[in-house]
């Protein structure tokens, strides 16, 4: 069943987009039809990379590759790619510290100077796992669609730890939502 939820931070996500700008968006999750429909209405380039399909992305004894090496093989873009908007949504809840740091190392060279990001974390790290797929319905509305299968490696982090690990981004605003969900807007640290 779909759940629709208003977003107070989505409008700010695109505020730095200049007139006549064709923006480049990174979507690090499964893309929903609503998201595709939404971005179809704009001049933009949308990069889709569903890292949930690659979980778990934590290092286990016996693994041949480090998390950084795996992340580098999964998250690569043409050299001149610069993202204006990154949609992490709830991905950060399923990566450990090494995963978050590795992701940022891969992304940092590809972030535009005014890059912004949007994510959902939790206010209380003991809040129960609620696996959803997210999509944009409108300028201020998000759709949540429950997943059919449990996603591995759920281990949400406090905002303080994420601020430390998301080296390159600062938390610009946070809004507490129902079920202890925390909507956060990130901006590139200059």
């Amino acid at each position: 069943m779909n759940e629709r939820q208003s977003s107070q931070l989505l409008p700010d996500l695109f505020e730095s987009v200049a007139e006549d700008q064709c923006i480049t968006v990174l979507h690090l999750g499964p893309v929903l039809p609503e998201t595709m429909e939404y971005f179809s209405s704009f001049r933009c380039k949308l990069h889709v990379n569903d890292l949930f399909a690659e979980l778990p992305l934590s290092f286990k004894p016996g693994d041949e590759l480090t998390v950084q090496e795996r992340m580098s093989s999964l998250v690569s873009f043409p050299e001149d790619t610069r993202f204006d908007v990154c949609l992490f949504w709830d991905l950060l809840n399923y990566l450990d510290q090494d995963g978050v740091v590795a992701l940022m190392q891969c992304l940092r060279p590809h972030l535009a100077t005014t890059a912004m990001a949007h994510a959902f974390t939790v206010h209380n790290i003991r809040s129960p796992q609620r696996d959803c797929r997210f999509g944009i319905v409108s300028d201020s509305e998000i759709v949540l669609r429950p997943r059919h299968h449990k996603v591995p490696e759920y281990a949400p982090h406090s905002q303080g730890k994420l601020k430390e690990w998301l080296d390159g981004f600062d938390v610009k605003r946070s809004v507490l939502l129902a079920q202890s969900r925390l909507e956060i807007l990130l901006e590139l640290r200059v």
């Binding site: 208003s6 107070q8 931070l9 989505l10 409008p11 700010d12 695109f14 505020e15 987009v17 007139e19 006549d20 700008q21 064709c22 923006i23 893309v31 929903l32 039809p33 595709m36 429909e37 971005f39 179809s40 209405s41 704009f42 001049r43 933009c44 380039k45 949308l46 990069h47 889709v48 990379n49 569903d50 939790v122 206010h123 209380n124 790290i125 300028d139 201020s140 669609r145 982090h157 406090s158 905002q159 303080g160 730890k161 601020k163 938390v171 605003r173 946070s174 809004v175 507490l176 925390l182």
Partner: protein, 173 residues
């Protein structure tokens, strides 16, 4: 928020309509299941057929078999059926993916990835539809080289929800 690009859709000339008299029925496969009821002819690459090379032509195409190389039907519709496996770049007016594609896709009018579709590659199309359940990895360029259209920030209303949003700074979580 930036403004919707109302001028983005350009007039794409319709594919030439051909009567059934133009082509001998024996040389043509069945009509594509997703094609509108028109007289346009449709060729089909059957499930047991494998092609390596460049596929070109002047009619719609349904691929149920395997294709490696490139598919270039700029003014026509290409459908990769559920059993189709394409390891090739595809250029067509409209591209519909029900099967698997590894390669870049250019849809001059539209690209559709259905719920059974699996695409790895980069897509260039002014309109894109993705059904729930489709698997896609790559990039989608929604602005395929048209004249710059006006895109601007939407005027902010005085009662913007963001104005009233509570500011939280939960440093310790």
């Amino acid at each position: 928020m930036f403004e919707r690009n109302k001028n983005k859709q350009t007039a794409v000339p319709a594919a030439p309509q051909r009567s059934q008299q133009d082509t001998p029925p024996a040389s043509k496969a069945s009509q594509a299941s997703h094609s509108p009821a028109t007289n346009r002819s449709t060729a089909m690459i059957g499930p047991s057929i494998e092609i390596k090379g460049t596929v070109t032509g002047d009619e719609d195409l349904v691929i149920q078999g395997k294709v490696e190389g490139s598919v270039e039907l700029g003014a026509h519709e290409v459908t990769v059926g559920e059993s189709g496996k394409v390891n090739a770049d595809i250029t067509a007016r409209t591209v519909r993916i029900d099967g698997e594609v590894a390669g870049d896709i250019r849809g001059n009018e539209k690209v559709v990835i259905s719920k059974s579709g699996n695409v790895r590659g980069n897509i260039v199309a002014p309109r894109m539809t993705l059904e729930d359940g489709a698997i896609f990895k790559g990039s989608i360029d929604m602005d395929p080289g048209e004249a710059p259209a006006k895109v601007s920030l939407a005027p902010k209303t005085s009662g913007s929800p963001s104005d009233a949003a509570p500011e939280l700074d939960l440093k310790s979580g």
